[in-house]
């Protein structure tokens, strides 16, 4: 008897899968750390008006370039705006971009992938060739090209980042649909006279959830990162709206004398991405215990 044979025997326990996953997730300190930060960010995004000490866009020319102090915990920028307040409002923008972009990518890519995987044949071929075309343009570059064409705005930023991620989701969903489709319980459902739509909605989608959940969590991270990058080069949110990438870009020219202006927005981006990545990794391990040994 080898260890491989014993361990699955022991892992099997009688609990609902959801509770099981959550229990395993709770055991990972890094995933919990990530989750905690995400909660804080969501809280900031929702209650930005209540918790931020100053207005994010009000200029105060008496207090320009101030380093962190009791009044301005993270200092002020070149227009005397409070950096902490801008970061808090910035969370709203970043999360919005992250979730909506992933939403766009997930719905579009997921549908394309599901249809492609389920019907296979010609339709599958066409869809996947189009995805190949999109995949042969690096994601950031595709997003840049789309924003460049549409013009910079919050909405266009979300669309661009979202569309550039569509092929990733299409592939994942198609892959899991293909593997599930050939399983016997799908045959059984079909034999029982279920319609295609019913099979897709009731059987295939729930069973391909695990990789999609993981990819979406990580996807929000890369969407936020991409969006911040686009804003950094001036293709995203336009001033004076508070956005982390744009703040970085703004502080960049003062980096020699006032590094705090670039330090904190960058830290905010990094912590957010880090939190989402930790959570995504934790979810992957929790959803697929076989992978973690």
């Amino acid at each position: 008897m080898s260890e491989k044979e014993i361990i699955p025997e022991l892992v099997r326990k009688r609990r609902s899968p959801f509770v099981d996953v959550m229990m395993r997730l709770a055991k990972s300190p890094l995933a919990m750390f990530g989750l905690a930060i995400i909660f804080v960010l969501v809280f900031c995004a929702i209650f930005a008006e209540l918790i931020s000490p100053y207005s994010p866009i009000k200029q105060d020319l008496m207090h320009m370039f101030e380093t962190p102090s009791a009044e301005h915990w993270l200092g002020t920028d070149e227009f005397g705006r409070d950096i902490l307040s801008r970061l808090i409002y910035g969370a709203r923008v970043s999360l919005q971009v992250g979730f909506i972009a992933v939403g766009i990518a997930l719905v579009t890519g997921g549908m394309l992938g599901a249809v492609s995987g389920y019907y296979s044949g010609k339709l599958d071929n066409i869809i996947m060739r189009v995805m190949d075309v999109l995949l042969s343009i690096p994601q950031t570059l595709l997003a840049i090209a789309i924003v460049a064409a549409l013009g910079p705005s919050l909405m266009n930023l979300m669309i661009a980042v979202g569309i550039s991620a569509v092929p990733t989701y299409a592939r994942i969903v198609r892959g899991s649909v293909l593997s599930i489709r050939s399983m016997e319980f799908i045959e059984a459902a079909r034999a029982a006279g279920s319609s295609d739509l019913r099979i897709i909605l009731k059987h295939i989608i729930p069973n391909s959830m695990a990789p999609i959940i993981v990819q979406s969590t990580l996807g929000v991270a890369s969407a936020i990162l991409n969006a911040a990058g686009l804003s950094f080069i001036g293709l995203g949110i336009q001033p004076p709206n508070p956005e982390w990438g744009a703040m970085l870009s703004g502080g960049r020219q003062y980096i020699r004398d006032y590094p705090h202006m670039t330090l904190y927005p960058g830290l905010a981006i990094m912590l957010t991405i880090l939190a989402l990545n930790f959570l995504g990794d934790g979810l992957r391990d929790a959803l697929d215990p076989k992978l973690k040994r």
């Binding site: 008897m1 080898s2 260890e3 044979e5 014993i6 361990i7 025997e9 022991l10 892992v11």
Partner: protein, 328 residues
Amino acid sequence: MDNMLDIRNLTIHYEVESGTVHAVEGLNLTLGRGESLGFVGETGAGKTTTALGIMRLIPNPPGKIKSGEIIFDGENLLDKSEAEMRKIRGEKIAMIFQDPMTSLNPVMTVDKQIAEMISLHKKVTKSEALKLAGDMLELVGIRRERMHDYPHQFSGGMKQRVVIAIALACDPELLIADEPTTALDVTIQAQVLELMKELKQKFSASMILITHDLGIVAEICDKVAIMYAGRVVEYADKRSLYSHPIHPYTRGLFRSVPDIDEDVDELPVIPGLMPDPVNLPSGCAFHPRCSMATEECAKVRPEMQEAEPGHFAACPFCVKKFMNGEAL
């Protein structure tokens, strides 16, 4: 008797999340020179773990040899350094693994994989080693021209032949074969078994054949050890074990083998399941499934007793009955 291998009180545990797996628990076993021993038990009884223990290849973590002695050629393998063990592995003790599909390195040609074994233990040049590798391939019935092929270019049975060629390449004293035919098609199984039988003679090696197939044991082995939940419960030469098994578990095993001459509607099975190796039952590990179990069985762990010369069983109750000539 000149014992080549003498395992005393071997205990191997795996530490996993849900507790300690008692894979091998106080196992005793001896093997004489030139003998072949059939090592029989259900999946999960601890057969492979024992074999890996002899090779000192228990994956650690999670596995650990907790106690015991493995005396091979008069020396305790558990006292050997890793460097000393490396000399023994392959040269003195070789192993054939269960799944030929995954036992060969997919990115290395088979001649190189055999030659690796030869170069490690014999003082030969690289080209000599490759030539010897070709000889070994021919010996196991694979044409020499195929020596530069990769494992994926062979069928399952052919791969197992390659694995056998690797194991025998340095003329080992002891060959441990871990279910060498389980992963193969039935028709191929017979061929591979035939080959092993033939080569065992030729190389005059001792052999431990791990299997759950009593038929294979009958064909190849001299001695049989029956393993249950990490311990040997019965040990005898083949003839006496097959003619009159003593331990209730062994008898259960034999009853569940179909007999061609007999026309039965249903094969009797041993009720219940293998115990959870994390929580082994107290006393005799088999007592929850045993129809003859008494209160005593749940309390005291039975020791091996000799029922007739060379025939041991770990069930005092049955041994007594047997010696009194009562029916079992």
